[in-house]
């Protein structure tokens, strides 16, 4: 059942991703002012969407873990943080590749860019915490706390960064007035792409979640085995 779901997600996600790729390069018309680079948008936005959803999931899992004290929530939260980090990295890279030809700079301290960078640093810290510690219930609680606090911090970050940019003299005022999705084909491409990324990311999440579940069971097994070996040695 679970395996079928994972396989289904992987297959449908990959198929839709190919369809989205086809739409981006063959179907959708080129945007008038930005030209061909604007096509990065159709994969850039879904990546951002996945990253934000994943980070929200980390906080939700954290709350459930602290509340119910079940290892499943910790494993799911960990998996979500990792997947979110992969897509957050992609948002930053593709955004940079978009900004260079359009704004003439790899990086500008635009409010969205800055917020994404801070999110990346926040969840990078979360993953470092996990990498630097053992798989104990205590560390799972630490991670849950960090995930919750980070999510609470996000609205304040968004507000402060936006205010910082508007008050700061803007070097690049033109934020390409909307994204010019006048053409219905552009909307259709974006929607297909978002659907494709959602399925594909869900598949990655399931894969990572499955390995974490296995790791949890193995740890448990190893502990009991060690206990048995000790008691057997005591009898001898």
């Amino acid at each position: 059942m679970k395996r079928a779901l994972t396989t289904g997600l992987g297959a449908s996600g990959s198929a839709l991703l190919l369809a989205a790729l086809g739409m981006v390069f063959l179907y959708v018309p080129t945007e008038a002012t930005q030209g061909i680079v604007q096509r990065i948008f159709y994969f850039h936005v879904p990546c951002a969407w996945i990253a934000f959803v994943s980070f929200a999931l980390v906080a939700i899992c954290g709350i459930f873990y602290l509340w119910l004290d079940q290892q499943v929530w910790d494993d799911l939260g960990y998996a979500a943080a990792e997947v979110g980090m992969v897509f957050c990295t992609l948002v930053l890279i593709t955004g940079s590749l978009w900004a260079k030809p359009i704004w003439g700079a790899w990086w500008t301290w635009d409010s969205r860019l800055t917020t994404t960078l801070i999110l990346w640093l926040l969840y990078g810290g979360y993953l470092m915490l996990r990498a630097m510690s053992e798989d104990t219930a205590q560390v799972a609680r630490y991670a849950a706390v960090v995930g919750i606090v980070a999510a609470l911090d996000v609205p304040v970050i968004v507000v402060s960064v936006r205010l910082w940019r508007t008050i700061h003299p803007a070097v690049l005022v033109t934020r390409q007035g909307g994204h010019g999705l006048e053409d219905p084909r552009m909307v259709a491409t974006l929607l297909v792409s978002i659907a494709a990324f959602t399925l594909f990311a869900a598949w990655l999440l399931m894969l990572r979640f499955a390995t974490l579940r296995t790791r949890t069971r193995l740890n448990e097994l190893a502990r009991h085995l060690a206990l048995n070996e000790l008691s057997r040695r005591g009898e001898e």
Binding site: G125, L129, S133, Q138, R141
Partner: protein, 223 residues
């Protein structure tokens, strides 16, 4: 209340007896200001923007070191375990630790403000009085955040490294608001014109004091 003052007084007494970390924090603040003056160059940075930036860099570093020390010191000799099993409840423990960190940070910041006036050629006048509430809000927020995160990273490998890695990105909104508000005040603007920034600082403080107070229980618990 009794538990709170007992733990807080214990920390302050310990510090009064040796005075080591206070001296170290003040020295660190001094060094950070000197480094920033060198790093930013002689001209152009001596304005309110540069001074405010230097002040907040000193706050972040002093806070990181101060909070890590306050909690890691307890980790040695199993003192934290002793505190956790004492009748003081964990939320009170958080409040006491946070206050101790805030007091040490405040001492370091007083020294940093005095040095900033000297190094950046400012005047000792009303503007400095107006910077006090801004710094106080920053100190409370960072102390709460750092206390919670020092407890989180305390029992991991490379705890002293992990704490700032977790704390600094989380502190970004308060840092932005604090630097902007301090620069405004140093440039002679009244506090009433900086309400947006003060609002962010207050919101940040509320979020981290409340969540720290509620979540410290989970962090300090031992299995």
């Amino acid at each position: 209340m009794a538990g709170l003052s007992a733990v807080l007084l214990k920390d302050l007494k310990l510090e009064l007896r040796s005075g080591q970390s206070t001296i170290a924090l003040v020295a660190l603040s001094l060094l950070i200001l000197v480094v920033l003056v060198f790093a930013l160059g002689n001209e152009g940075v001596r304005g309110p923007e540069g001074a405010a930036g230097a002040l907040w860099v000193a706050l972040v570093f002093a806070g990181t070191v101060g909070a890590t020390k306050a909690l890691l010191a307890e980790g040695e000799n199993g003192c934290l375990r002793g505190l956790v099993i004492s009748p003081v409840d964990r939320a009170t423990l958080f409040a006491a630790k946070m206050m101790a960190a805030a007091i040490f940070m405040a001492i370091a910041e007083i020294a940093a403000v005095a040095l900033m006036v000297l190094f950046f050629n400012l005047e000792f006048d009303a503007r400095l009085a107006r910077i006090v509430p801004i710094l106080a809000l920053g100190i409370v927020g960072f102390a709460a955040l750092a206390t919670l995160l020092a407890a989180v990273s305390g029992r991991t490998r490379a705890a002293d490294l992990l704490m700032p890695i977790l704390a600094v990105p989380m502190f970004v909104p308060a840092l932005i608001a604090g630097v902007k508000a301090s620069a405004g005040v140093l440039a002679g603007r009244p506090l009433s014109g900086l309400q947006a920034w003060l609002g962010i600082l207050v919101a940040f403080d509320i979020i981290f004091v409340v969540s720290g107070y509620l979540l410290f229980e989970q962090v300090a618990r031992e299995d």
